[in-house]
């Protein structure tokens, strides 16, 4: 190290101050890359240069520290952000319980169970089970999307100027996107007449719940809807085939629920607003 060549002071300062031509600058640069001693000298010259065109090193360091210490968004969050959601929207949507592993595995398990049962001898029982479960999955998803009891983080969110309804809608969308394909796939194993039609009660219940969520915590109406549905399906199955629920007057009821729920929801959205307030 002692016998090594080093950049002389005038040249070094000239480079730091941008006063030397390209050939010499290149020579200094090639040397500095590998020479710790001259790097230190550059550091001292750069800091002591008064009319410097160099950045403020302390300020840049704090910017680096801030960037590095911010927790990285989760994979779901980055995926949602890539899909076009703004960063805060992505964060809140990703916080939806429906996007957590536990929810997904429960949905998958229930659906598999129903599908398996429908394949086995107990075909009727399988269909009943599927009919009970499938429309309630989005209902449960909406219920947990904005229930303080399920998501303690909501207590904080409730205190922020973020419209509650926007959060519910975002998370409902997340629930549907995640759950529906799974349930629909399981529905393919069922006899026709069940498979696409279960979407009708599902849509009706979801719309009503969303509308209800603009007034109250959606968990309670969700429980009511679920109880009512389970009893209805069970009673119909006892009398004959539960598939009858998906035909005739049943369809009209779901459509009324769907349209009524959507109209109420739209009116409420106009009233309370879903736009994120600035500040």
């Amino acid at each position: 190290m002692t016998t090594r060549w080093h950049v002389d002071e005038a040249l070094l300062v000239g480079w730091v101050e941008g006063r030397i031509g390209p050939v010499f600058a290149a020579s200094v640069e090639q040397h500095v890359v590998g020479c710790a001693l001259c790097r230190d000298r550059v550091g001292r010259a750069a800091v002591s240069d008064p009319g410097s065109d160099l950045p403020d090193f302390e300020r840049t360091w704090s910017a680096i520290r801030d960037a590095v210490e911010v927790p990285r968004p989760s994979r779901t969050e980055r995926l949602l952000a890539a899909g076009g959601l703004s960063a805060p929207d992505a964060m809140l949507a990703a916080g939806a319980p429906a996007l957590r592993g536990a929810w997904l595995s429960v949905v998958a398990l229930v659906v598999l169970f129903a599908a398996a049962a429908s394949l086995a001898d107990a075909r009727a029982a399988g269909v009943t089970l599927f009919l009970i479960v499938a429309p309630l999955i989005p209902v449960a998803g909406v219920a947990v999307a904005y229930s303080v009891e399920v998501d303690p983080a909501l207590e904080q969110e409730a205190a922020t100027p973020y419209p509650k309804l926007r959060l519910v809608l975002l998370r409902t969308a997340a629930v549907l996107v995640v759950s529906l394909p799974l349930v629909a796939a399981a529905g393919l194993f069922l006899p026709t007449g069940v498979s696409p039609r279960w979407l009708l009660p599902a849509a009706g219940f979801t719309a009503v719940l969303l509308a209800a969520s603009t007034w109250i915590d959606p968990a309670r109406p969700a429980i009511a809807v679920a109880l009512g549905w389970v009893i209805t399906v069970a009673v119909t199955a006892d009398r004959g085939s539960p598939v009858e629920l998906l035909t005739g007057s049943g369809v009209i009821v779901y459509l009324v629920l769907l349209v009524g729920g959507l109209v109420a929801l739209v009116l409420r959205i106009r009233h309370v607003g879903v736009r994120r307030r600035l500040s």
């Binding site: 040249l11 030397i20 640069e29 090193f57 360091w61 910017a63 680096i64």
Partner: protein
């Protein structure tokens, strides 16, 4: 003065992989100044230089494990920094990349400086000086900064083929100048 940290750069990078921010601070103090100077000689906007410096160290923090342990940490850092510069300047056309030769006016008739100037304007100096700024920029980006033709093209906002042609012409011109100088 603070106590000098004697750990090698590669050692610092390894500790950073485990989440030690103070190790990066040491690395930053060692390398940020020369990186900033070198970037500032390629881009006349101090804001952009600060951003690139920040990008560089954020990238280093995330990928400190990517340093393979062969070669200089300094060279590795510059490789990251110059590529960050390329991507930062991609959409900026208002920034002058690669400044012209400096004015000779402000330099005093200092003996030491005169010696430097003699070397600077010796054989290779004037030869490079006679190249057009466009050719010098290409030469600097590819030969001295080690960018690929496609990276140099992005940095200078010109097509890749133009980079290749200019580089070729620059070499021919330099060879001619040097030959003339000798004869």
């Amino acid at each position: 003065m603070t106590v000098v940290d004697t750990r090698e750069d590669a050692e610092l990078l390894r500790v950073m992989g485990a989440g030690d921010l103070s190790a990066m601070r040491v690395l930053y103090d060692r390398h940020a100044p020369w990186l900033a100077v070198r970037l500032a000689r390629r881009c006349n906007d101090a804001e952009v230089v600060a951003d690139v410096l920040q990008d560089t160290f954020v990238a280093v923090w995330k990928h400190s494990g990517a340093f393979r342990g062969d070669g200089d940490v300094g060279a590795w850092l510059w490789g990251i920094a110059v590529r960050r510069l390329v991507s930062r300047l991609r959409r900026r056309r208002d920034v002058v990349v690669f400044a012209d030769l400096p004015e000779r006016g402000p330099l005093g008739p200092d003996v030491e400086e005169q010696v430097l100037l003699d070397i600077e304007y010796g054989e290779l100096g004037p030869a490079v000086g006679r190249l057009s700024p466009e050719m010098r920029a290409v030469l600097q980006a590819t030969v001295l900064d080690g960018l690929t033709t496609s990276e140099a093209a992005k940095l200078l906002h010109i097509p890749q083929n133009t980079v290749k042609t200019r580089l070729h012409r620059a070499k021919v011109r330099l060879r001619q100048s040097l030959a003339e100088g000798r004869s």
